[in-house]
Amino acid sequence: MKEASDARIKELLQQALPPANAQPRRDLWPEMLRRLDQRAPASAVPWFDWALLALVAICVLAFPHSITVLLYYL
């Protein structure tokens, strides 16, 4: 009696719920790439790195003779 009831409940549930679809309805990868591209500017050069670069450039321009000494260390 109980087994019949379980089977009936299972049948009703299967009718009520849509079948699970293992495959997405559309290709999600292009959307993923688009989101990654949107996120890329966030990892671009921050303003303080530009400021540091400008500082180095100003120092090099102010003391051009030191260029050779700086290059010695690279």
Binding site: D49, V56, T68, L70, Y73
Partner: protein, 148 residues
């Protein structure tokens, strides 16, 4: 791509100084022959050609050795390298006789005098340069070789 991690880290580390050294030699040659700065090129290039690339590679291996939670950001890690390289470079320059200490400052190549008061700002410029090079250039190489 998950094998030979340290070899890849070493290779990623030496790319930048190996590329830059050709430019460095060119600048030294121009400085000597065009601007007549008496740079003894054959002695000067020993440090940037022989030591700096290897130290970059080893320092990047050290970065790869540290677990992600324990190491500094790559730029900061690279900014610490001048603490090793500057004393080494100055020692080799003194030994090879193109760096001298005078009453007015440090004399490079018997021609370029850096006053003692400018040494600390000059050190800061080197550190900033290393920070930027490591953060962006070495970081790019690490990303390409799947180190970061």
């Amino acid at each position: 791509m998950n094998t030979h991690r340290y070899l890849r880290a070493y290779m990623a580390g030496i790319v930048v100084p190996t590329v830059v050294v050709a430019f460095v030699i060119m600048v030294f040659i121009i400085a000597r022959h065009v601007f007549h700065i008496p740079i003894p090129i054959e002695r000067v290039v020993i440090f940037p050609v022989g030591l700096v690339p290897s130290v970059f590679g080893l320092w990047n291996m050290f970065y790869a050795r540290l677990s992600p939670g324990r190491h500094l950001p790559l730029g900061m890690h690279g900014a610490l390298l001048p603490l090793i390289l500057i004393p080494l470079g100055m020692a080799s320059a003194v030994a090879l006789e193109f760096l001298a200490f005078s009453s007015r400052g440090v004399v490079w190549f018997s021609a370029i005098t850096i006053p003692y008061a400018l040494l600390i700002p000059w050190f800061g410029v080197v550190v900033i340069g290393y920070y930027l090079v490591w953060k962006y250039l070495v970081g790019f190489c690490n990303k390409v070789l799947n180190i970061a």
